[in-house]
């Protein structure tokens, strides 16, 4: 949930400290000295990021051209990529991953709905704000295990079903049911974060707009449609992008503790398949190639979404 913003990286505002000081104190040497200090202060972080992120990305690309189990390796060119594009399992897993996207409209709808209610200062709105946000601070393994315990064959949900006269359901033995439980966990755990972001958008609406609309006789729906939705467009964009990224890259924890990808491969997601290929089948090359393809897909999706939403905002 610490996923940051990628939408708004605005230009620097105003002259910088060093630039201003340059005006106060004459002498280029002093400016140069200050620039050097700035560089030295930023350098450690940059070096860490270079060695622990940039270098590994390059290495990942190299690994994707190898047949390797981590010990021995052989250069095989683009074969890993060719294998992935032709492997039926990868296609199946990609479709499964798309199924998990069902959670996103639900998360956004619930998030927006509760955000508007909280914005209207319903009784206890501060309490609800924290309670709905609460699952966001829990680990995916905590949430996953709670759902697994709740939905096991002799767990609370089935006990309740029996009590109401239904047959118990073996949720994790049936593909669609297992997906349903994971999606439910995603919604339960995820809508509070979206609510929080949308609420921060609502808080910045100029309340005069509502007063003016009321003078014109606008009802609740009209105010919702013509004031609220346009005002939180940017937050809606952010929430949909973040949730899409999340669905493609961060389901590992849920899948790992809830279903281990099963039954068969019916809940295996792309990120879980990368893990399986690299660390269960010890095919680091193909795992790496899959991770790179996955990264390409989500990068394209993110760019497409933000372009689309920017056009929308410009209308």
């Amino acid at each position: 949930m610490t996923l940051p913003a990628l939408l708004e990286v605005g230009p620097d505002k105003g002259p910088t400290f060093a630039g201003r000081v340059q005006g106060h104190i004459r002498g280029a040497t002093l400016t140069q000295q200050k620039q050097r200090i700035g560089l030295f202060a930023a350098l450690p972080a940059f070096l860490v990021v270079t060695s622990l992120l940039f270098y590994p990305i390059g290495y990942a690309v190299w690994i994707s051209f190898l047949k390797t189990d981590g010990v021995t390796s052989k250069f095989i060119g683009l074969s890993n990529y060719a294998n992935i594009f032709t492997e039926p399992l990868v296609h199946e897993v990609f479709v499964t991953n798309l199924k998990f996207l069902i959670a996103i409209p639900m998360v956004i709808f619930l998030g927006l709905f509760t955000a508007v209610l909280l914005y209207q200062e319903i009784w206890g709105w501060r309490f609800f704000r924290i309670i709905f946000f609460l699952p966001s601070v829990l680990s995916t393994s905590v949430i996953g295990l709670m759902f697994r315990s709740a939905f096991t064959l002799n767990g609370p949900i089935n006990t309740a079903l029996i009590q109401f006269g239904f047959e118990p359901i073996n949720f994790f033995a049936r593909a669609n049911m297992a997906i349903f439980v994971v999606v439910l966990a995603l919604i339960w755990a995820g809508f509070g974060y979206s609510m929080m972001i949308l609420l921060s958008g609502l808080m910045s609406i100029d309340t005069d707009l509502f007063a003016a609309a009321e003078v014109d006789g606008a009802g609740w729906w009209q105010k919702f449609r013509y004031i609220i939705i346009p005002s939180v467009k940017q937050q809606l964009a952010f929430v949909s992008i973040i949730n899409t990224l999340y669905t493609f890259t961060s389901l590992f924890g849920f899948i790992f503790v809830m279903t281990a990808g099963g039954p068969m491969y019916s809940t295996t997601t792309l990120d879980y398949l990368v893990y399986q290929k690299a660390f269960s089948a010890f095919d680091m090359g193909e795992g790496s190639a899959l991770a790179i393809i996955m990264f390409g897909v989500i990068a394209l999706l993110t760019i497409a979404q933000s372009k689309h939403l920017k056009n929308d905002a410009g209308r």
Partner: protein, 276 residues
């Protein structure tokens, strides 16, 4: 738009309250299950337990070395968090207030890797760490956490330090304050709330992380809490009180942190999306 009538207020309040119960009741249920005996759970899983016991917690600490796991987690998260914040704040301050050649490029390089998914990094990082014989060592994992948390830290703190007024920094500069003095005496105190927010966010991220922790510390004696929880949960499905106790140990610190710092979390979640 802002207020509801009394009746609508009551109806919506009740609807939201039932939604809130679906969030709170599972947590309450887990806490209660963790304090029952297994026999009691098998006979009466949903009622109030006849007596409360901390046996499951004792078993976890004695037989499943969850105490060690907690200690390892605190060590790794503590050192990684402190290091990442120090590096990020120096860089964030420099990028916000010192316009040095290449600062724009450096800034973009941090932003570029901010959203990198861990799946793309885990394979090369695992191979690199094993080359340096760091797999199975706490500091191997620390390197990973420090590296992956710095980009967002720099991005976040750059915007925090940008809000520190130039006038007071100028004044200090004219009084002869150097980089360190300006940083510690003026920038950090003025940005304390922002730094706290970042620390809370990154603490949660590290504490809850599973993939790196699971793969880089494979030995049971060195495991962190989240992977320990995942494997206990996978293996002991018939002993729900034990699983519940493990859930409590893992989740309690994050819930306590939420209770103590909700102000910072609310702020942290809303900043960074260009709304301020």
């Amino acid at each position: 738009m802002r207020k509801f009538s009394l009746r609508t207020n009551l109806l919506i309040f009740l609807a939201l309250l039932s939604a809130a119960i679906t969030t709170l009741y599972p947590l309450f249920y887990v806490a209660m299950t963790s304090a029952r005996t297994l026999e009691d759970y098998n006979k009466n899983a949903y009622g109030i337990p006849k007596f409360f016991t901390l046996d499951s917690f004792r078993i976890l600490i004695e037989n499943y070395s969850l105490g060690t796991a907690a200690r390892n987690t605190v060590t790794v998260v503590g050192i990684s968090l402190l290091t990442a914040i120090i590096f990020s704040s120096f860089a964030g301050f420099a990028l916000a207030k010192y316009d040095f050649p290449g600062s724009k490029a450096m800034n973009w390089s941090f932003i570029a890797v901010m959203l990198l998914p861990s799946q793309i990094l885990i394979i090369p990082i695992y191979l690199l760490l094993s080359k340096f014989e760091l797999v199975g060592h706490l500091h191997g994992l620390m390197f990973v956490y420090i590296g992956t948390n710095i980009p967002f830290g720099v991005f976040f703190l750059k915007s925090v330090f940008s809000a520190v007024p130039d006038t007071i920094l100028d004044a200090a500069r004219i009084d002869g304050a150097g980089f360190f003095k300006s940083f510690f005496k003026i920038a950090v105190p003025n940005a304390a709330a922002g730094i706290t927010t970042l620390a809370v966010l990154q603490f949660l991220g590290m504490w809850n992380e599973l993939l790196y922790a699971y793969l880089i510390l494979p030995d049971q004696s060195q495991r962190l809490l989240t992977p320990a929880l995942a494997s206990i949960g996978g293996r002991y499905t018939t002993n729900q009180p034990l699983v519940a106790a493990a859930l409590c140990i893992t989740a309690a610190p994050t819930l306590i942190l939420l209770a103590m710092s909700s102000k910072y979390l609310v702020r942290g979640v809303s900043t960074g999306i260009g709304n301020s």
